[in-house]
């Protein structure tokens, strides 16, 4: 597979503050994020040749109009992308392919979600089979956590440690939903949401939007970030079973989609030892247990040892492989369509040395890992400084 390594560049990034943004609608959020990205790239809306917008829920927006209408950019090719919680990064993936193919020179990938307009107690449970579905998002991911408790001896303390670390990181980030450090006690004493996941094990319901201006490296060299534009080293997407709970023999220890996407991405980027070669990772910590599973699935650690590795500080900002220096979904919340693009925003700025929050020391490569469904869709991107 030829892939798109070094063939696509990020020329500008934008991101709204994430949170309970009652007074703003999806139009406000998308316009803010896209205009920030355009300013960052030093271009105007008219320079956009095509766009991809990641959205999960119909109440945020359907069709390419989700982007075209608020931007009042009519007559351009715009595609709405939905791929569970990986919708944002899949919008980015499609945008990258269009640019790499030479179909367009400058395009926008963005994501947006307005969850709070639907209330704030968990994602809406809609669609699916009338009687065979019907479980909450925490309930689905909890099935895996329960199994790891049983097989690997993980504990609620192990999960709480992830929450404490991410909350510590998020304090410094001006765009995070939560900027408050928490204690182990806070995490462990919080109300249960779906055993064994308590409130601090779950990411919040938040609103937000993020956007990226995408071009080819030779064009990025002529733009505002000509010295510090970032290039795509690898991008992989893997779609596994939507209903793993019915799959005979499925072991619930980690998520196959991540393992597959990681294998493809490492090959494309030429990575042999991810912990040594990747400077840091923004991973999908929709639940604290998911972050632990991700560490194993991404090959950072022997999977059962992930809990131990967190305890030993491996994933702290000063650790061997900092994970979620932004504070992750734990601090940003998870406006579904926006999250993948928000991660890419974060990785880009870290690589450029201008992180909004805690700056990782001098990274060369950074990873953004976006996981959707009950671990059934994974989009993975590795970005690097340009040569």
């Amino acid at each position: 597979m030829p892939g798109i390594k070094d063939r696509v560049a990020i020329a500008g990034v934008g991101c709204t503050k994430f949170g309970e943004l009652w007074e703003k609608d999806q139009e406000d959020l998308l316009v803010e994020a896209v205009y920030e990205a355009l300013d960052d790239a030093g271009i105007t809306p008219q320079d956009i040749e095509a766009a991809w917008v990641g959205v999960l829920y119909h109440f945020t927006g359907i069709s390419g109009g989700t982007f075209a209408e608020p931007m009042k950019l009519f007559g351009k090719p715009v595609t709405r992308v939905e791929n569970f919680c990986a919708s944002g990064m899949d919008a980015f993936r499609n945008a990258c392919f269009a640019v790499a193919a030479g179909a367009y020179d400058i395009v926008v990938a963005c994501g947006v979600e307005k969850l709070l307009d639907q209330g704030s107690s968990g994602l809406p449970m809609e669609g699916g089979h009338p009687v065979m579905g019907g479980v909450s998002a925490p309930g689905l991911f909890a099935l895996a956590a329960t199994r790891a408790f049983h097989e690997w001896g993980w504990t609620r303390e192990d999960l709480a440690r992830v929450a404490v670390k991410n909350h510590k990181n998020g304090v410094a980030h001006p765009k995070a939903h939560f900027r408050r450090a928490i204690t182990m006690d806070d995490a462990l004493k919080a109300p249960m949401i779906a055993w064994p996941l308590g409130r601090f094990d779950c990411c919040a319901m938040s609103d937000g939007s993020a956007a990226l201006v995408i071009t080819r490296p030779e064009i990025a060299k002529t733009m505002k970030h000509k010295d510090d534009y970032v290039v795509v080293k690898a991008n992989a997407l893997a779609v596994d079973s939507t209903y793993p709970m019915y799959r005979p023999g499925y072991n619930w220890l980690g998520f196959p989609a991540t393992k597959k996407a990681a294998a493809v991405a490492y090959e494309e980027a030429g990575i042999k030892d991810p912990v040594k070669e990747i400077g840091f990772a923004e991973v999908h910590d929709c639940f604290t247990s998911t972050e632990l599973f991700n560490m194993g699935d991404l090959g950072f650690v022997d999977p059962p040892k992930a809990a131990e590795a967190v305890r030993d500080g491996m994933t702290e900002v000063e650790g061997a492989i900092p994970i979620n220096p932004s504070g992750g979904l734990k601090c940003f919340g998870h406006p579904i369509g926006a999250t993948g693009c928000r991660m890419l925003y974060e990785v880009t700025k870290q690589l450029q040395g201008r992180a909004d929050g805690l700056q990782v020391k001098d990274p060369v490569l950074g990873m953004a890992h976006n996981l959707g469904g009950p671990g059934s869709v994974c989009s993975l991107t590795i970005l690097g400084r340009h040569d």
Partner: protein, 469 residues
Amino acid sequence: MVAIASYGGYIPVFRLGRQEMSQAWGIPGVPGERSVASADEDSITMAIAAGFECMAGIDPASVDGVYFASTTPPYDEKQCASVVASALDMRQNIFTADFTDSVRAATVAMRAACDAIESGSAKRVLVVAADNRPAEPETMWEQLLGDGGAAFLLSADGPATVRGFQSVTSEVIGPWRRSSDRYVRAFEPKLDTQYGYMASMVAAAKALAEKEGVGPKDISKGVFSAGDPRSNVALGRQLGLEMPQVQDTGFLLLGNTGTPQVLMMLAAALDAAKAGDKLLVANYGDGADAFLVEVNDAFPAVPGKRSIQTYLMTKRMLPNYNAYASFRKLMVRDRFVPKSSPVIYWRDSKMELALYGARCRKCGTVQYPIPRVCVQCGTKDELDEVKLARKGTVFTFTLDHLVGGEYLSTPVPRVVLDLEGGGRTFLQMTDCDPKEVSIGMTVELTLRCLHEGAGFHNYYWKCQPVRGG
């Protein structure tokens, strides 16, 4: 000749002490406890549960008819027997019918089944009966009634014969419910007890005894339905039976279960009967039906089949009246109602009601729901339908506090199950204490009313800790 080939009963796992009800309202209390159907149970699900007990070890394809009897059919318009027949995996070319409007419906259905077999129009008919009658809050009805189900398989041959049906009809206003009434109503009971119950039951029982030439000494048990704990004893005395000859109604432990009561009593009597015993059965409701059961052989023991006694013994006490009120939906609450579709219910009924999965001809993997392409080896359209087991082991689970619904309380246990004989499924656990849920736990599947999406009863499987296992 018509015989009982098999029988079974079902009692919901939950009971409420009657003192909880008298305390809740500050009204007099009756001793004992009553059975309470779970929030997700109704007459259809309890009839199905009893039907499964009755059909244990018997090929459903051998049955030519299913008769459903209840005063609380979950549908006013739409047959209930068809739901029961589908869940029990009966053939489609059978005769199904609902018998309702009176607690006598159980014996009306029994008589109709016997007539069908005697006439030769059917070889085997399954009669199922269940009730969860609505009691008006702050009345004694709440304490007197109970919930349950029973099923009898009538056949041309079997260990016990049924004969001598005698019926009377009588227009005395006993308990009633107009179609617009929410709760069972009754006038001062003395009129109904004396001129309804006693008159009709005596007339039917005496006519039967005369026709069959049996006297009080020939009767090993008189199985008489009764709305209270005394009337059946008084009736026995009137018919010349001694106290030990009168089958207990189960009032102290269950309450009056209505339509299935007489069949639950008969099941309990048959559990204790020996060859040669003669049981005089009589049932009241706008008249009475009476028939004689003669036990010729012992009923064959079927592994795993549970007696009425087992269902009596396996119980969970509800903590208070609030729990009962919640189960009965006595408070109006607006909850999230999931979407549903009669189209999907119809298309998937073999999976959803009869519990079929598929086995791949290439790799042998048993899987659910039934796919086009094998989940294991990817072979297309090489899958055979296969009946899944109603027993399994918990592989993993969560206790979900976010999922609402008609529950006594959250969390709702959601479990991934490995079924005996293959297949993996994902179900809610019901009738359990969430604290008991664990990996490796053995559970049984039970058909319940999952929700009311699209305005119909969406029946689907849940699982529960094995009762009496």
